[in-house]
């Protein structure tokens, strides 16, 4: 489950993950909740991935992987985490300690985005990092997912977002090398 505020690209990033999973031969179900707010309001996306048919209802009661891009509206995600979960936190924005039993992995995604691409790509950087650190999705699938997810009127930003995924991927490998990911969790 990914949360943030409207404008950070939460819905687009969830689309990239979902479409990448399909490219990797999995089934996916994605439910985005965002009301009428394009900028600044609550936004979250629930994504279910499976090797077989998906029987889950669209609203999740718990999740094993969280992406927290902003401290506002974070409680909806925290309620769904438990001690077996891992949550990736954008420490450029979420600066307070998170109260959770889940394993917390911090990444300054916005700062990294500013250094390597541009600030609006922060969530795409995070997606690249999450995919690499967890071995959840292959880089090829991610790029194919990105190409499918970008609407026609945003095609000119394909290169920029691809660069963001790549920057995130490097950071994700670094996190994995530093044993930030619990070993029991990556084998799920």
């Amino acid at each position: 489950m990914a949360t943030g505020i409207g404008g950070q690209g939460i819905q687009l990033s969830a689309q990239v993950l979902a479409r990448a999973a399909i490219c990797d031969g999995r089934n996916a179900m994605l439910f985005g909740s965002y009301g009428g707010m394009m900028r600044g309001g609550s936004t979250d996306a629930s994504l279910v991935l499976a090797d077989g048919p998906i029987d889950s209802p669209p609203v999740l009661s718990r999740c094993w992987l969280g992406i927290a891009m902003h401290h506002q509206y974070l409680s909806g995600l925290l309620d769904k985490l438990d001690e077996r979960s891992v949550v990736f936190v954008n420490t450029s924005v979420v600066q307070d300690r998170i109260d959770t039993e889940a394993s917390v992995i911090g990444l300054g995604a916005t700062e990294l985005a500013v250094e390597t691409v541009t600030a609006v790509c922060a969530t795409m950087v995070m997606v690249g990092a999450v995919a690499a650190a967890t071995s959840l999705l292959s880089p090829d699938a991610l790029e194919a997912g990105l190409a499918e997810a970008l609407p026609s009127y945003r095609r000119q930003h394909l290169e920029l977002n691809t660069a963001a995924l790549a920057a995130g991927r490097e950071a994700g490998f670094e996190l994995a090398r530093n044993d930030a990911i619990p070993a029991a969790w990556t084998s799920r």
Partner: protein
């Protein structure tokens, strides 16, 4: 364990938003005219039809309001073209007069009701004036919506009557891996009633009107009683012929049976499956056709039950049909309620597996079924 009345399609799945999947299902079913007015969560279906129909030679109209939308659909459907319209609760309410009239005129079409919550059950199953009736189908997810949308067109043409699909915000906005393939539901009667211009100049003009389908002469006048009686016979024949659809699970020895339709039906199915795995003798019935209601399926499903619990994301509307079906033979308890988040688009905070599970457990206890420890 469970058996759906609708088959599962095979082929290569694509990730599609429910709205687009429904639009695609309409197009592969041969729909070539669509009219509507934007309103969440119906809007994306209209947008998708506007994209898909013109390249196929079809027409999609963004009407001035829902009143005009159904009027346009009425005219298009009268030509024999596969036609659909739709809206959400308020817009559907505006359409009810025309929907009833075109039923009496015996015009087939599909009406997509993307409701905000389940509180449009009454207007879906009972809406409109006069003795008009229509089949209402309620999918639980995107895949089933794709199937029921196509079946809806078939039933509409089979019975020469409007058919409604009852969706919601969840189905509209959930992306799923889904396969959309044209389904063949069998042969259909010829549309020899259609105003397609084929009888022009022959003297055999056709009339499609809620006021009668034969030419009137001044010295005879309208015999509406005769016409309405004939429509009544046709609608009753439709109700008799159509086998109500429902999915059941774990009902053979169930102490408590939970009834829910649409998206909440999928939640309830999930909760009941979990509770069974934990040792609770609970079952579920998920009505797929809301009208005609699966009365016989429900009666059969509650044979061993000491109570029936109904979950709806509304103040309770389908529960009336459940009570009518069971005629007081089994106590019926309501465990739902209308809950919405601030968008008021029908996203209910109560639609959570743990919450619904707990209500089912509570219903078991209040029915005197002791679940033991761990619940």
């Amino acid at each position: 364990m469970t058996e759906t009345a609708v088959g599962t399609a095979t082929g290569t799945p694509r990730l599609m938003e429910g709205s687009e999947a429904i639009a695609e299902a309409m197009v592969v079913a041969g729909c070539r005219f669509f009219a509507g007015y934007p309103m969440t969560p119906f809007t994306e279906i209209l947008e998708s039809m506007a994209e898909k129909l013109p390249p196929l030679g079809g027409v999609c109209m963004n009407a001035e309001s829902e009143l005009e939308a159904i009027g346009m659909a009425w005219g298009a459907a009268a030509t024999g073209t596969r036609t659909a319209t739709g809206s959400t609760g308020q817009g559907l309410a505006l359409m009810q007069e025309s929907l009833a009239e075109l039923t009496l005129a015996r015009i087939p079409m599909l009406v997509i009701n993307m409701a905000r919550s389940q509180a449009d059950y009454f207007q879906a199953t009972r809406g409109g004036h006069g003795d008009s009736r229509r089949i209402v189908l309620a999918p639980m997810d995107v895949s089933e919506a794709v199937e029921l949308t196509q079946l809806g067109f078939h039933l509409a043409d089979l019975y020469r009557n409007p058919v409604m699909v009852y969706g919601d915000y969840y189905i509209a906005h959930t992306y799923e891996s889904v396969v959309v393939e044209r389904r063949d539901f069998g042969p259909l009667p010829a549309k020899d009633w259609a105003l397609d211009g084929s009888s022009g100049g022959t003297g055999a003009a056709k009339l499609l009107s809620p006021l009668g389908d034969y030419k009137q002469r001044d010295d005879v006048g309208y015999d509406l009683a005769d016409y309405y009686a004939r429509v009544e016979v046709e609608l009753t024949a439709m109700e008799t012929d159509f086998a109500p659809m429902a999915e059941t699970g774990f009902v053979e020895d169930a102490e408590v049976v939970v009834v829910a339709f649409g998206t909440p039906g999928k939640f309830v199915r999930y909760c009941v499956t979990e509770l069974r795995a934990e040792g609770a003798k609970v079952g579920f019935v998920r009505p797929i056709s809301l009208y005609p209601f699966p009365t016989e399926v429900l009666r059969e499903a509650v044979r061993t039950a000491r109570a029936v619990a109904v979950y709806e994301n509304s103040a309770g509307q389908m529960i009336d049909d459940v009570r009518l079906a069971l005629l007081g033979t089994v106590p019926v308890e309501f465990i739902g309620g209308l809950t919405m988040d601030s968008s008021a688009f029908g996203v209910g905070p109560d639609l959570q597996v743990p919450i619904i599970k707990q209500r089912i457990v509570d219903a078991c206890r209040s029915a005197g079924y002791e679940l033991g420890e761990g619940f």
